[in-house]
Amino acid sequence: MEIIMIGLASILFGAGIYNLLQKQLLRIVVGTVLISHGAHLYFLTMAQLKRGAPPLVVDGVTEYTDPLPQALVLTAIVIAFGVTSFLLVLAYRTYTVNKTDNMEELRGSDHE
């Protein structure tokens, strides 16, 4: 199962990178979201999947799933969310100021 999940994460990465290489700002944001999804899945997978019960202490259970990667991914999800929302608002502002969301046109002038 892990191999398939790694494959899925790689597909998410590939699709994300493809979107990242596009011109439109919205697509670039979509690309970053896909890449962060891929990274989270990758993370969880690398710590082995399904080795016991959910990490909630229950009497009598000795085998639990590894709680550490879950904690790390939780942190990562929140940070990715913060960054994504910031990027979205940045895209919005960029559009309202520059009247374009085409990255090829947003090339900073030489005089700055």
Binding site: L8, Y18, L21, L72, T75, F81, Y95
Partner: protein, 776 residues
């Protein structure tokens, strides 16, 4: 001794305050005693019984760098020249620069230079030597660019800076290698290990680096081009730096390391060859100049070449003559620069074509110039010091031995080239003298009516000319007290030569006669053969090479930069990703890290497969769907799919968070999307570029390979057991993930909160803050 070295620097700090009263008292008067006292201090060492002195102060003991000063004969000669001519130059500049100039700047730079130069010649520690060496480059740069509002001054300053600093770095490389080879930073200890250095396999590099350093500083062919352009400096600077002191720093370096390097035949070959070529080329080019200082600049180049060549010969006579000529050249060249400055000051021009017949207007300058130019030309008169050293130079060219065909050719050519160079020296000296002071007086071409300079302005060149005559009349007096000690230091052993005016009918005498006879002939027929300059240097000039090089470096680097700094985000992404891809793949293959042996995996279940398949299809669909609403929804599908996977994989907290975050993200996407105007809502077909596909697919595959390989090479077990066992007993919680988040690894959470807080603030700022278009 250390006070003597640093006194000018200390006073340089005071000069800006002193220059406030420059309208009442010329700043030069206030600081004139400093170099004079240093001169007197060094003068006390002169005498037949001179013993080398050492004084050392710790600077960076951990790196074995100290300010250790070693005063031997060579250093003493240079220190006397620097402080003595320094005094005269300051005196001269008092009359040359009036109080409307920025005197504070001028004297500050000049005194920094004085300390730097004294430091160069007295340092025993190579790194201290290098530090002072670069100080001379920097202060020289400042002095050349003194009239910074003139474009030529800035050009000359930059050129000399670039060339001398290039040599400075080369010197640094050389001394670092010397330190590595010998394990010491002291020049005296290096001299003691001369065999070790010459035998080491770094020796060719050491030699090349040191030679490059010396050649650039001392304006040797083909690095001589900065010196004529440095003539844009005020004349006192030219007289001081570019005739007597700084340009001799390279000479000093070669003389100082001569006991080490002279054992190598390449040293002889390179130094003699470049020196003699510089001598001939410099004197040849000097005849062509029309500017008084231009003539003197090329003359300096040529004389430096002569000294360099003599240092290369390495025989006792040659080294003695080299040291002797250092002294002689400093006296007559310094005075000639000052006379040229006086002519410039009193007539308003330095163009020799406009000058002429000044003899009657400026009798004293005329008299001083006779001695200066005739001494430079080497006219055989018993009261001109230039003749003595020239005669010794001819002697020295005749006694070299050689091995190998190239060296034999060089040794055979040396006397001939020396005579040719001296003939041209004779010609330009005569041209300089007679062209300025005799002939027709061209009143209408001169900007000012010429008249004699103030007496005090004539005093410094007068003193120098007095030196020329004294050395000429009583050479033995200087020999015993000063020159012998310097020659000993360069030769590395006792080197006591006698200086005679009359050698008898020896070859050197005939060479001198030939120089005078041919020189007079060539001077008188100068107008007939001047056409040769349109043929020989013609369009060939190292200035053109320099300008071309500078221009090419600028345009070339500009081209390189614009070729990859396109301003396109996509292009940067492509570069970054390709680099990551290539490096990762390279490391992977290099370390043989690929490993597909699959062990210890969870069983495959159908429901997970279905979710995974949906997510994969959705991810690929984002590329092909052109409707933006659809893209957002698809992103949502992927996020929710991930949440479901989290459920499958026993991560309830993750699933919960993922669901909420995904919902909010989709809402945010929608909001953002809503604000984009209609025009932009229209779907644009994506440019499917091969590069994008290749990079994306390649990256996906690479990650796949890395993931599988990494999964199968576990080095050790997880530390999860600790958290599982201690969540309840230590932290008092049942939810292990939450316990890790807030208890075991709470700092992460703190800063994660800070990230969210920062993002929220930034969003508010971006939406609320508006800058007016005009207020930029």
């Amino acid at each position: 001794m250390i006070y003597a070295v640093f006194a000018p620097l200390l006073f340089a700090v005071l000069i800006p305050f002193l220059s406030r009263w420059k309208e009442k008292v010329h700043t030069g008067w206030l600081i004139l005693p400093v170099p004079f006292l240093i001169f007197l201090y060094f003068l006390q060492f002169v005498g037949p019984n001179f013993e080398p002195q050492v004084q050392s102060v710790q600077w960076i003991p951990s790196l074995d760098i100290s300010l250790s000063f070693h005063l031997d004969g060579l250093s003493l000669l240079f220190a006397l020249l620097i402080s003595g001519i320094g005094t005269l130059v300051v005196l001269y500049s008092i009359y040359y620069l009036n109080h409307k100039e920025q005197l504070g700047h001028f004297y500050t730079y000049l005194y920094i230079f004085m300390t730097a130069m004294l430091g160069v010649v007295l340092s025993d520690n190579v790194f201290a030597l290098y530090a002072f060496w670069e100080f001379t480059s920097i202060s020289s740069f400042l002095l050349i660019g003194y009239w910074h509002y003139r474009e030529r001054s800035r050009y000359g300053a930059l050129k000399s800076m670039l060339i001398t600093v290039l040599g400075g770095f080369s010197l640094l490389a050389g001394i670092i290698l010397l330190t590595i080879v010998t394990g010491t930073t002291s020049i005296r200890e290096m001299v003691a290990q001369a065999d070790v250095i010459v035998d080491s396999h770094y020796f060719p590099f050491i030699l090349a680096f040191l030679l490059l350093g010396a050649f650039t500083k001392s304006a040797q062919f083909p690095f001589h081009i900065w010196l004529p352009d440095a003539m844009e400096a005020p004349t006192p600077v030219s007289a001081y730096l570019h005739s007597a002191t700084m340009v001799k720093a390279g000479i000093y370096l070669m003389a100082r390391f001569s006991p080490i390097l002279a054992g190598d035949p390449n040293f002889f070959f390179l130094l003699s060859l470049f020196g003699i070529v510089t001598l001939v080329w410099g004197s040849f080019m000097a005849v062509r100049q029309t500017d008084l200082k231009g003539i003197l600049a090329y003359s300096t180049i040529s004389q430096l070449g002569m000294i360099m060549a003599m240092l290369g010969f390495g025989t006792d006579v040659a080294l003695f003559a080299a040291v002797f000529h250092i002294l002689n050249h400093a006296t007559f060249k310094g005075s000639l620069f000052m006379v040229a400055g006086i002519v410039d000051h009193e007539t308003g021009t330095r163009d020799i074509r406009k000058l002429g017949g000044l003899m009657t207007f400026m009798p004293i300058s005329f008299t001083l110039a006779i001695f200066g130019t005739f001494s430079m030309a080497g006219v055989p008169l018993p009261f001109l010091n230039g003749f003595y050293s020239k005669e010794m130079f001819f002697d020295a060219t005749l006694v070299n031995s050689a091995s190998g065909p190239f060296m034999e050719a060089l040794v055979a050519a040396l006397p001939v080239l020396a005579v040719i160079g001296s003939i041209f020296t004779f010609v330009y000296s005569m041209y300089l003298f007679f062209g300025t002071f005799t002939g027709k007086y061209k009143e209408e071409e001169l900007p000012q009516t010429p008249h004699e300079a103030p007496k005090m302005m004539l005093l410094p060149p007068f003193i120098l000319i007095l030196g020329v005559i004294t050395i000429g009349l009583f050479p033995e007096m200087f020999n015993q007290g000063l020159i012998t000690h310097a020659a000993d230091a360069v030769f590395g052993a006792e080197n006591n030569q006698d200086i005679y005016f009359w050698h008898g009918l020896v070859p050197a005498f005939y060479m001198s006669v030939a120089v005078v006879v041919l020189g007079i002939t060539l001077y008188l027929t100068k107008s007939k053969w001047e056409g040769i300059y349109s043929v020989l240097p013609g369009r060939l000039s190292f200035n053109r090479v320099y300008d071309w090089l500078i221009e090419k470096i600028e345009t070339g680097s500009n081209k390189v930069t614009t070729s990859y700094m396109t301003g396109s985000l996509r292009f940067y992404m492509v570069l970054t990703l390709t680099a990551i891809f290539a490096i990762t793949l390279g490391v992977l293959i290099q370390t043989n890290g690929v490993n597909f042996e699959v062990t210890d995996v969870a069983p495959i279940t159908t429901k997970e497969l279905i979710v995974a398949a949906i997510m994969a299809i959705a991810a690929i669909a984002t590329i092909f769907v052109h409707n933006r609403i659809a893209i957002i929804l698809i992103v949502g599908v992927i996020g929710y799919g991930l949440a479901i996977l989290f459920v499958f994989y026993r991560a309830p907290d993750l699933a919960l968070t993922q669901l909420i975050v995904e919902t909010v993200t989709v809402v945010l996407f929608m909001l953002c999307f809503y604000h984009l105007p209609n025009l932009q809502k229209s779907t644009t077909p994506l440019l499917t570029k091969g590069v994008n596909v290749a990079i994306s697919v390649g990256f996906g595959l690479l990650l796949m390979v890395i993931g599988v390989s990494a999964y199968n090479s576990r080095a050790f077990d997880s530390i999860a057991d600790y958290y599982i066992e201690n969540a309840d007993p230590l932290a008092g919680g049942y939810n292990m993930v939450n316990v890790i988040l807030v208890d075991f690894r709470g700092i992460d959470t703190l800063f994660e909160v800070a990230v969210l807080f920062g993002a929220a603030l930034a969003i508010i700022a971006m939406i609320k803050l508006r800058r007016d278009k005009g207020a930029k």
